[in-house]
């Protein structure tokens, strides 16, 4: 499995951000849902090998991220878009994506074509030479996505990828995710259930550091439908399912 998490916990001081999560994921697009502070970003940072777990085991792409040579192999095949994308304002879009392509250990002779392709995929081909300081928030988000996919990752981790994107861009983005999900494992952490409904083959819902639901979007819709009579909230069937699962978890 590309993601194999067993009883993983992560503490920051006395606060437990992730509490005993176990999850196995293969290729496809996986939505990671949950309220603020549920532990989604911490789980994603562990999967991105930025931080290690406090306890439990984590295997990514059949490798142990705690061992240096294997961690490096994982990182070569990893794409990651953090929640808060830092960037260098003086770099152009192409330079920024190239910078991270090189850091991802791509062969230098393949980098120019990969950079051009990634920028084209996020619809910024005509702005490749624009400095990052001149871009809007939505465009910067697309630059972040471009750097995440530039190395054709086997494991793509996206934290709030659609924040700031307009509806047209979201549609294009979801299409792109579905294409990548056919050959790789894509994990999207998001608050927006419509992204999940449109793109994900699996939904994982977290609350208070724990994994409280795992299933298809259809399963989540079904959970919402079962509690409508009990006063479940939400504008869409998926939101009602989301609310129902959370309400049950908080009891």
């Amino acid at each position: 499995m590309n993601v194999d998490i067993k009883d993983v916990t992560r503490k920051f001081g006395s606060a437990q951000a992730v509490a005993g999560v176990s999850w196995v994921a293969g290729a496809g697009v996986h939505g990671l849902l949950g309220p603020n502070g549920a532990g989604k970003t911490t789980l994603l940072r562990m999967m991105a090998t930025v931080i290690g777990p406090t306890s439990g085991t984590l295997r990514l792409l059949d490798r142990d991220p705690g061992a240096h040579p294997q961690c490096r192999e994982i990182r070569r095949r990893l794409g990651y878009l953090p929640q808060n994308l830092g960037y260098y304002p003086g770099f152009t879009i192409a330079e920024f994506v190239e910078y991270f392509a090189l850091l991802k250990d791509m062969p230098p002779n393949r980098v120019p074509a990969a950079v051009a392709s990634a920028i084209e995929q996020v619809g910024l081909g005509d702005k490749a030479r624009a400095k990052l300081r001149t871009l809007s928030g939505g465009m910067l988000r697309r630059v972040g996505i471009a750097q995440a996919i530039v190395n054709d990752p086997h494991l793509l981790l996206l934290d709030e990828p659609t924040a700031g994107l307009d509806p047209e861009q979201r549609v294009a983005f979801r299409t792109m995710l579905r294409e990548i999900g056919e050959r790789a494992t894509v994990v999207i952490s998001t608050h927006l259930v419509e992204d999940v409904a449109a793109a994900c083959s699996e939904v994982v819902l977290m609350n208070a550091g724990r994994l409280v639901f795992r299933g298809t979007p259809r399963d989540l819709v079904a959970r919402g439908a079962s509690v409508v009579g009990d006063g479940g909230s939400g504008d869409s069937p998926l939101e009602r399912g989301y609310a129902a699962v959370l309400a049950e978890a908080r009891r």
């Binding site: 590309n2 059949d62 040579p69 490096r72 953090p82 090189l102 850091l103 230098p108 980098v111 298809t216």
Partner: protein, 497 residues
Amino acid sequence: MTTTDPITLPAGPSGAGRPPTEPIRILLRLTLLELRRSPMPLMLPLVAALFWFDALRTGENLPAIWAQRASILPNHVLPDVGPIAAGMAAWAGGREQRRGTGDLATSTARPRWLRHLASWGGALGWTLLAYAACATAIYLLAARVVLWGGPPVWPITVTGMAVAAFCTTGFVAGVLLPSRFTPPLAALGTLFVSILVFQSALSADHGVTLLSPNNTVPPLDWGIFHPVPPDLFIVQTIFFAGLVLLLLGALGLIGSGHRLRTAIAVALAGVAACVAGLALASTATRGGDGYEVSALHDAASDKAIAYTPDCTQDSAIPVCVHPAFATDLSGASAAFAPLLAEVAGLPGAPTRVTQIDLADLPQLTDARDRRAYGQFGAWSTLVTGSNGAAVLEYGFGDPNAFTEADTVGYLRSQAAQVVIGHVIAPHESPDPAQLAVELALIRRAGATVDASGAAPDQAVTAAAERFAALSPAQAHAWLAAHLDQLRAGQITPQELP
């Protein structure tokens, strides 16, 4: 919506993968990106202004001697460029933290050290470019006025390495303390080092203080008659290169388990170079044309530099200067002319006046001369060549030796005492008549009479005044006719015309 069964991608055995991709090529490409987008060019206007105000204007007022002009690099260009470079490098070093790209960068395959090396390379590239522009300007302006010799390379190397060390120090400070206060503190810290620590080392002039590049302020004739030994420059370069390696190695040791052995090796190499620099500097001794380090010194480099002196062509006794001081020829000729006119053609008079290395002049034993040497850095002596002909040798350490009245007067007086003494009473203390003639000739030569000894008696003074009142032709004719008798002590003061 895509719904697929979970499938595992072929990932290969744990830990196995394709070999690392050309790290040097990746580092070079990253460094090029950093060079292109570095904030360092922002420092260039400030560097240019400081360089013009300080280094360039100071350099233009220095003597047109390569060693003198090259000393501008460590003494002025380093404090002009180094602190600004350190501040800007600290800004570049703190970029990842400041811009919040840490998570993103950490998730990549290449170690943190490589990112830092690329960023440091970008900062260093601009710093060295700014320094190279300053050094080029100094040397080009010097080349327009320097009359002899070639540009020295070692001051460029040492100062460049010191600038690199400043830049690296600032960068590492920025990485370790990524705060908005770090850049100004790095700039002020390195400014403090370059101005106070380095320059205060000038007064110590021994041991590890010689690692200060400012210690290379050269006397006027260093590198003119003999080459300046590169020993201390080599030691300083080793030390500053070691400092750069140590800092870079330490950067590799921080926060990354990758390339740990390489980082340790680099840091240890840096420590070794620093220790070697310290040890070698403590053995340095001052020689005639620079500092010598026995472990590095090549005796062959002490060989005098061949040159053809520039000499006056129209005088009975030619006056010569080293070609490096060719502009001083007329001044030297004017300084010695009145004296030479008095003794020309007499037995024992110098056949030539020539400039030599101050370090080659015999040691002074007279307290008055030493005091004068300290004041003007100039003195002269009469030597007898293998063919019996006397040569007046002189040297000076004062760049204005032939333009300042005090220095000219001193040179003339000192030369007058040794030349006239040699002509009138070459082998013993002068008798009263000889003393009277000496005093008269010294006065006629426009020189100052030595007043430190016992005052001559009235008869000598009166005879000296009579002889000094003669016309030059009368005095010269009398000496030509009576010099042998005068030297033999057969003439009394009363018998002098």
